[in-house]
């Protein structure tokens, strides 16, 4: 009992004044260091085949709201995991309150006052609010001190205007309140540095406002808030400082957000020294090769499904106060000519993922998918692929390959039924190996052998293998999702060349990308998706990345343009 009340008392103290919890270190930090709650120096984190963080620097002043912005795949989530101790960096140092620290686990991080608020709530629905908050750090032993826990939670809740009722069942409360429960969870554990991963992704506008009011109250009390976002208007409106990350590196630090514009930020996020994906000469031919008509995915279509897209949960968790849940994909129609690349721009959770899944037949959908005049919407995934729909999945490790299998087996993947490899139900190994050798050669996959397993390749070479595999089966339409995400510059150039050459040869391509430069450079037409709908049809030659970003975040809306 005594130990627990002590822990509670301590956690109370360190919320109020962030310094106390850091009182364990020995050296005497300078005044300037004292002002810095957390600092990262030259953080490098490698994964097999990828350098996710390649020299990230971050300095967060105490009592501020600090935003980290960057594109998908820029290394934000890797950085975040480093921050709260989910993994250790390969190189670089972490300083908390001016003192170098190595935390080996999230619990070590929370002991130093660093707590993580996850984007996808980790709450037990059949428990009450207070039970969820104390879970894993229950006061009282052997009998749970429920009254004490409730009192403590009420105190915290009132202190920071978080407005939760400890005895409510979590399944009965709304999304905004669930998030406040998550925040209380880390406060209860004594965190003075809060990390929030895209906290507004699931919130409606007035909840967003409330959230930032609460966060401001926290920082006024001495706590520090780090949040990750790619909604630039929100970042500019609420952050005291901004760090921009691109391709695993810190590329910009903004101490006074009032001095930058959203466009400047977007430029920093995307960068300009990348090889240009420009492709100007029109190769668009007459005749529609591929079309989706009124494609719709219902909000609950994914319930019970095995695979979930990356951004799916945010849509499933529709705020309870809204009468009807938003459709992840709402009446989308797109036409693609031969030799045309149609680009789709859209922030995660606004429909691009669902569009790919609906085209590939991975989620139940209504509407038509028409390939060369033939409606294939009743086909299963394999039949669609065989009919001529090639796909470069948005997450190559999840959907595009089997890392523990050899390259030649991966080249068969998705085409295992094709007569090229399959002979009376048996696999023609020689044919598969021959094809793989050709893919490796033609698409510049750098590997000593086609027998090595896929995990040994770098991200760029893995992606070249996937793109090459799809190209080799001569698709009629290619759905390319983030084809150069997380690949090195060399591989990016090769993949762009492949897409350009295929376009010139008459391939219809649906390009989904978070890389706005790639989208603008490669596309013949650009469609913007927002909340499951196509909200703008733009000419890539006449739009800047800044403008595109404005459409994507919904700040500016054009009237939905009828499909050409």
């Amino acid at each position: 009992m005594a130990a627990h009340s002590l822990a509670l008392a301590r956690s109370h103290r360190c919320v109020g004044t962030a310094v106390t919890v850091l009182g364990e270190h020995t050296g005497r930090p300078t005044a300037e260091q004292l002002d810095v709650a957390i600092e990262l120096r030259d953080i490098v984190k490698r994964f097999p085949g990828v350098v996710a963080n390649d020299g990230v620097n971050l300095k967060v002043r105490r009592g501020t709201i600090h935003a980290i912005v960057g594109e998908n795949g820029a290394g934000k989530s890797t950085l975040m995991k480093t921050l709260y101790g989910a993994h250790q960096p390969d190189e670089g140092t972490i300083l908390v309150g001016g003192q170098e620290q190595h935390f080996r686990s999230p619990s070590a991080a929370i002991r130093l006052g660093i707590g993580m608020v996850f984007q996808h709530f980790m709450l037990a629905d059949n428990f009450t609010v207070w039970e969820n908050i104390v879970l894993g750090k229950e006061p009282g032993w052997p009998v749970l001190a429920a009254a004490k826990a409730r009192r403590r939670i009420r105190e915290l809740s009132e202190q920071y205007g978080l407005d939760v009722e400890p005895d409510d069942l979590v399944s009965d409360i709304g999304v905004g309140e669930k998030q406040r429960v998550e925040i209380l969870k880390v406060l209860y554990r004594g965190a003075s540095i809060l990390i929030l991963d895209e906290p507004t992704a699931v919130l409606v506008p007035h909840e967003v406002e409330e959230l930032f009011t609460s966060l401001r109250q926290l920082t006024d009390d001495g706590a520090t808030v780090i949040f990750i976002s790619h909604k630039l208007d929100e970042v500019l409106g609420n952050a005291d400082a901004i760090t921009v990350i691109r391709a695993g590196k810190t590329v910009g630090e903004v101490d006074d957000p009032s001095k930058v514009t959203a466009q400047e930020l977007a430029e920093m996020m995307v960068g300009s020294e990348l090889p240009s994906p420009e492709t100007r000469e029109r190769t668009v031919q007459e005749g529609i090769r591929f079309e989706v008509r009124n494609l719709t995915v219902e909000a609950d279509a994914k319930v019970g499904q095995v695979t979930l897209g990356a951004g799916a949960e945010s849509n499933v968790l529709a705020p309870t106060e809204q009468a009807a849940a938003r459709k992840p994909l709402d009446n989308v129609s797109i036409m693609i000519h031969a030799g045309e690349i149609v680009g789709i721009a859209g922030v995660e959770g606004n429909g691009p993922t669902e569009l790919i899944e609906a085209i590939m037949g991975l989620v139940p959908s209504t509407g038509a998918v028409i390939l060369q005049g033939k409606d294939i919407s009743t086909f299963d995934t394999l039949a669609r692929r065989e009919a001529g729909v090639g796909v470069v999945p948005e997450d190559r490790h999840r959907d595009g390959m089997v890392l523990s299998m050899s390259l030649w087996e991966n080249v068969m993947l998705g085409h295992q039924n094709s007569a090229a490899y399959s002979n009376h139900g048996l696999i023609d190994r020689d044919a598969a190996r021959e094809r793989t050798t050709a893919v490796v050669k033609e698409f510049d996959v750098r590997t000593p052998s086609i027998d090595v397993r896929a995990f040994t390749l770098s991200g760029g070479n893995q992606q070249k293998l996937i793109v090459g595999r799809e190209m080799r089966s001569e698709p009629i339409v290619l759905v390319a999702a983030h084809p150069t995400r997380g690949v090195d510059v060399g591989a990016q150039a090769v993949i762009w060349d492949i897409l350009r050459d295929a376009r010139a040869a008459g391939l219809s391509t649906l390009l989904i990308s978070a890389d706005l430069e790639e989208l603008i450079g490669l596309s013949d037409r650009l469609l913007v998706m927002l909340r499951g709908k196509i909200v703008a049809d733009l000419d890539p030659a006449a739009v800047s990345q800044g403008e595109l970003g404005v459409y994507m975040t919904g700040v500016k809306t054009a009237d939905p343009v009828p499909v050409r």
């Binding site: 492709t279 995934t381 390959m401 089997v402 523990s404 696999i427 991200g459 010139a504």
Partner: protein, 379 residues
């Protein structure tokens, strides 16, 4: 290639050492001398007769291991191999006895019994599969429940319908000679091996060989096997590649059931002690199959080794009670060997993967640091 072999053998050797140490400690705690025990165990397996007995025993073990491994390959846990093969065995025995007057030629007779056994087992295995794909019922729970139901069903059928014995025990009628699979003593005799006395190499061994080869071909050479492995290694990629998970679950369970059916046929048709189904019919192969698939890493040859180890330990500890050492030390040996092997395999696997990755990065600089090749001028 050489390195691969080292990695492959390091784990089981390590595991055997751990198992010996653990069981020695257990023996010492019990106040017995490990040296006496291991000496006795060695003498129990030294000689032609014990070796042949071990092989006979390893045959159903091997088939059980393969039956489970097929499911494991796509992360399906068929705990129901026990119920499936016991039901298959009793139906096969009753059917075989029922048609004794048809005067079928021996090969046809045996084939008919095989067919019945496999059908019964597949039907029983289809139940958890259908429950899983239609109602999302966890196959572990469903198969465990079905094991209980199967044993009650067998009890009922044996007592009330198919009992041909007169005494205390219940048994189906004995199968005629034409329904039994002859032993292989004469066959090995042609190769110059002559077994002493009453040593019999049972005739089910070729079935196990066929099962092993078929398993290998299915897994590594067939399209279905490819789909199976992809589904197991990366279910998400399997789905994205157009592999229907529901279809895979059903077919895998049916294959597992069909293979499992053969377990009970080994004692039923090839062991001179049986030739009928009864209270004394051997049990527990299905559960052992789980251990064997794990130990053999779902590999057609790996499971051979696992089945031999299992049968050897079983045989070696059979006579321990003669020297006043509890026979249960065999279970401790099996258990600690399995546990140590699984841990060792995982350690070795990670080391091998790291080595593979390192070997790759030595061969060429990491692509990220390759100077970007000139971007083709925009067309």
């Amino acid at each position: 290639m050489n390195r691969k072999l080292v990695y492959g053998t390091a784990a089981p050797v390590l595991a055997a050492l751990v198992a010996l140490v653990v069981s020695s400690i257990a023996l010492l705690i019990a106040g017995d001398s490990p040296i006496t025990a291991f000496k006795e165990m060695w003498s129990s397996i030294d000689g032609t007769q014990p070796v042949v007995a071990i092989i006979n025993r390893a045959v159903p073990y091997y088939i059980a291991g393969v039956a489970v491994a097929v499911g494991f390959k796509m992360r399906l846990f068929n705990i129901g191999v026990d119920g499936q093969h016991q039901l298959a065995a009793i139906f096969a025995a009753a059917f075989g006895f029922g048609i004794r007057d048809w005067d079928l030629p021996a090969p046809l007779y045996v084939a008919a019994i095989f067919l019945v056994a496999m059908l019964v087992s597949m039907v029983w295995a289809a139940i958890p599969a259908v429950l899983k794909v239609t109602r999302n019922v966890n196959e572990v729970i469903a198969t465990i429940m079905l094991n209980f139901i199967a044993s009650q069903l067998i009890f009922f059928l044996l007592r009330n319908h198919w009992n041909r014995a007169t005494g205390q025990v219940a048994e189906t009628g004995p199968l005629p000679q034409a329904a039994l699979i002859p032993h292989l003593n004469r066959l090995v005799g042609w190769f110059g091996f002559h077994f002493p006395g009453n040593t019999v190499l049972q005739g089910f061994l070729p079935v196990a060989v066929v099962v092993g080869v078929a398993y290998h071909v299915l897994l590594n050479r067939s399209r279905f096997g490819f789909d199976l492995r992809v589904s197991g290694e990366n279910p998400s990629a399997a789905k994205a590649s157009g592999i229907d998970p529901k279809r895979m679950v059903i077919i895998t369970f049916l294959i597992s059931g069909a293979v499992g059916a053969l377990i009970g046929l080994a004692p039923l048709l090839a062991d001179p002690q049986f030739g009928k189904y009864g209270d004394q019919f051997p049990q527990g192969f299905g559960l052992a199959g789980l251990s064997l698939a794990l130990l053999g890493r779902n590999h057609p040859v790996g499971i051979v080794a696992a089945a031999l180890v299992w049968a050897t330990i079983e045989r070696a500890t059979q006579r321990l009670s003669f020297v006043d050492i509890p026979q249960e030390i065999g279970i401790i040996l099996q258990g600690s060997f399995l546990l140590a092997a699984v841990v060792a395999f995982e350690v070795v696997r990670r080391r091998a993967e790291d080595a593979e990755t390192r070997a790759m990065s030595r061969q060429r600089p990491i692509a990220t640091h390759v100077a970007p090749e000139p971007v083709g001028s925009a067309t």
